[in-house]
């Protein structure tokens, strides 16, 4: 650990997180720290509970046990107003994009802005929409409907919608899954560009090794509901552990 990262504070602290659905014990004591401006990837098999994990972070799912502190606030102790307040600082990229399909791209982007930053004027909103769309290179889609876009374009619009409120933290749920390698590569670059421009910290959920390699500084493996292994890409790639090695070398 070098001097610089040591000085930064934790923006996300997860301690001994547990979550079950009936008899399905999905998360069984997970710990994670994310420092300011750090990108951490959480890697795991399908169904290992990655989506559940970050939904707990943003308060969409309530954890059974453990604590989650985001920007110094304990998520489970916040009331609705405080939670909404905290959410203005967190961007969430849904695995399924979750674009509002009855609204145009412009309305999709305006929605969080009008809701979370109620004091903005019309001109400010227009400017923010334009900037976010230009960041993802899709300004020309302004008046289209989500159904008129390709999968890769929808993913970018979805990223634009999380960017628009200028969050301090972005939670990416499988940003590149289901995209061709070239489009996936573009999304990876976009994520790095966003990180650089907006100085965000992020948790990147993925099982796409290419994505993790170029976007994350540190990787945590989620297996059997716990943080099974941690390290940089190189460290894990050369790991002795048979499971990790199988994951990285196929």
């Amino acid at each position: 650990m070098n001097y610089k990262t040591k000085e930064r504070e934790n923006v996300i602290e997860i301690r001994d997180l547990k979550k079950s659905f009936g008899d399905n014990h999905v998360i069984r004591g997970f710990d994670l720290n994310v420092k300011d401006r750090e990108s951490v990837a959480v890697l795991g098999q399908s169904g290992s509970g990655k989506s559940v994990l970050i939904k707990c972070v943003i308060g969409l799912i309530t954890a059974d046990e453990g604590t989650i502190k985001v920007l110094g606030k304990a998520v489970e102790q916040l009331n609705q107003v405080e939670l909404d307040e905290l959410r203005t600082d967190i961007g969430f990229l849904f695995q399924s994009n979750a674009l509002y399909d009855s609204m145009t791209i412009r309305e999709n982007l305006e929605f969080p802005l009008r809701r979370l930053r109620r004091d903005k004027s019309k001109a400010e909103i227009d400017a923010a929409v334009q900037e976010a769309l230009e960041d993802v290179g899709l300004f020309h889609t302004l008046n289209l409907m989500p159904s008129e876009l390709s999968g890769g374009m929808r993913k970018r619009i979805s990223i634009a919608r999380t960017l628009i409120v200028q969050p301090k933290i972005i939670l990416y749920d499988e940003p590149t899954t289901g995209l061709d390698p070239i489009t996936a590569g573009e999304i990876n670059q976009l994520m790095n560009k966003v990180q650089e421009k907006y100085k965000t910290a992020s948790i990147i959920i993925s099982h796409d090794l290419d994505c993790i390699k170029v976007t994350a500084q540190r990787i945590v493996i989620l297996k059997n509901g716990i943080n099974y292994k941690e390290g940089t890409f190189e460290e894990l790639k050369n790991s002795e552990d048979p499971w990790v090695s199988a994951f990285f070398n196929t």
Binding site: L60, R87, F92, N97, A98, L99, D101, F111, P112, R115
Partner: protein, 260 residues
């Protein structure tokens, strides 16, 4: 023995469903009337509900008026009471057929739309996306739709009644000419406020139940495309059933008032 066990299970499931819908309704009253109100969305939904059902409701009401009149004529003729035709038809249209048929059509048309729309929003995580955008999705989606159906159904019923009476007028005119004025004079002589008010009131409740059930089914949709289909389907089935149950209750209550 096995059969009774199965029946017991489905009865239990039904009771759970009723309890859940009851809770959902309570939540509507708890969360629906806090600021900030979603005026724009309420207006938009009113437009959707009203405008989209207008033609279907109109056509059906017209045919009902026509058919009811044509079929009632022979019976009245038999008793030599043909001149009572407008009076009889208008009472049954306004009191019963107008509200119930309109509600059933709306249960099919609006209930299924709401169920499918909210269901697919749930399945594709759009409802979660609203929540992380600092919006209470219950208020934004459910409250607005329930208010819209409750407000628009009485208006649709009045519209349906008018068209049905016009249909009835045409049917009276098929045999034996009756002027427009004479027909409607007779209609209004028979009709009283005590026919109209309960009918409007009950359509308000029909609208409410259609909205609540459509929203409940969609909002609690199970994952997957099958879930969306099921939500839309149950929205129509349960809402139609509830319309009849409410109608039964409404009849009992109005009866009580008549006796007073």
């Amino acid at each position: 023995m096995i059969q009774t066990k199965g029946q017991f299970q489905s009865a239990k499931r039904f009771l759970f469903l009723v309890g859940d819908i009851g809770q959902f309704t309570l939540r509507f009253f708890r969360e629906g009337f806090h600021k900030p109100f979603e005026w724009k969305e309420i207006l938009k939904q009113c437009g959707e509900v009203g405008y989209r059902s207008l033609s279907l409701v109109g056509v059906t009401a017209f045919i009902m008026g026509l058919v009811l009149t044509i079929q009632s004529r022979p019976t009245l003729v038999e008793f030599g009471a043909e001149s009572w035709l407008p009076a009889m038809v208008s009472v049954s249209l306004i009191r019963e057929i107008g509200p119930v048929i309109t509600a059933l059509i709306c249960a099919g048309k609006i209930g299924s739309r709401i169920g499918a729309e909210l269901g697919s929003m749930r399945v594709t995580e759009q409802i979660d996306a609203m929540e992380v955008s600092g919006t209470n999705p219950f208020k934004y989606l459910v409250t607005t739709r329930v208010l819209a159906t409750s407000l628009m159904l009485p208006l649709l019923v009045i519209f349906a009644d008018t068209i049905a009476l016009y249909g009835s007028f045409l049917a009276v005119n098929i045999k034996g000419a009756v002027s427009f004025q004479l027909f409607f004079n007779q209609v209004f002589e028979t009709l009283e406020f005590s026919d109209l008010i309960p009918s409007i009131l009950k359509s308000f409740f029909f609208g409410f139940i259609i909205g609540i059930i459509g929203c409940y089914m969609g909002y609690n949709s199970k994952k997957g495309t099958e879930g969306v289909g099921k939500s839309a389907n149950s929205a129509v089935v349960v809402a139609s059933l509830m319309v009849f149950i409410l109608d039964l209750i409404a009849v009992q209550i109005t009866d009580l008032f008549y006796e007073l």
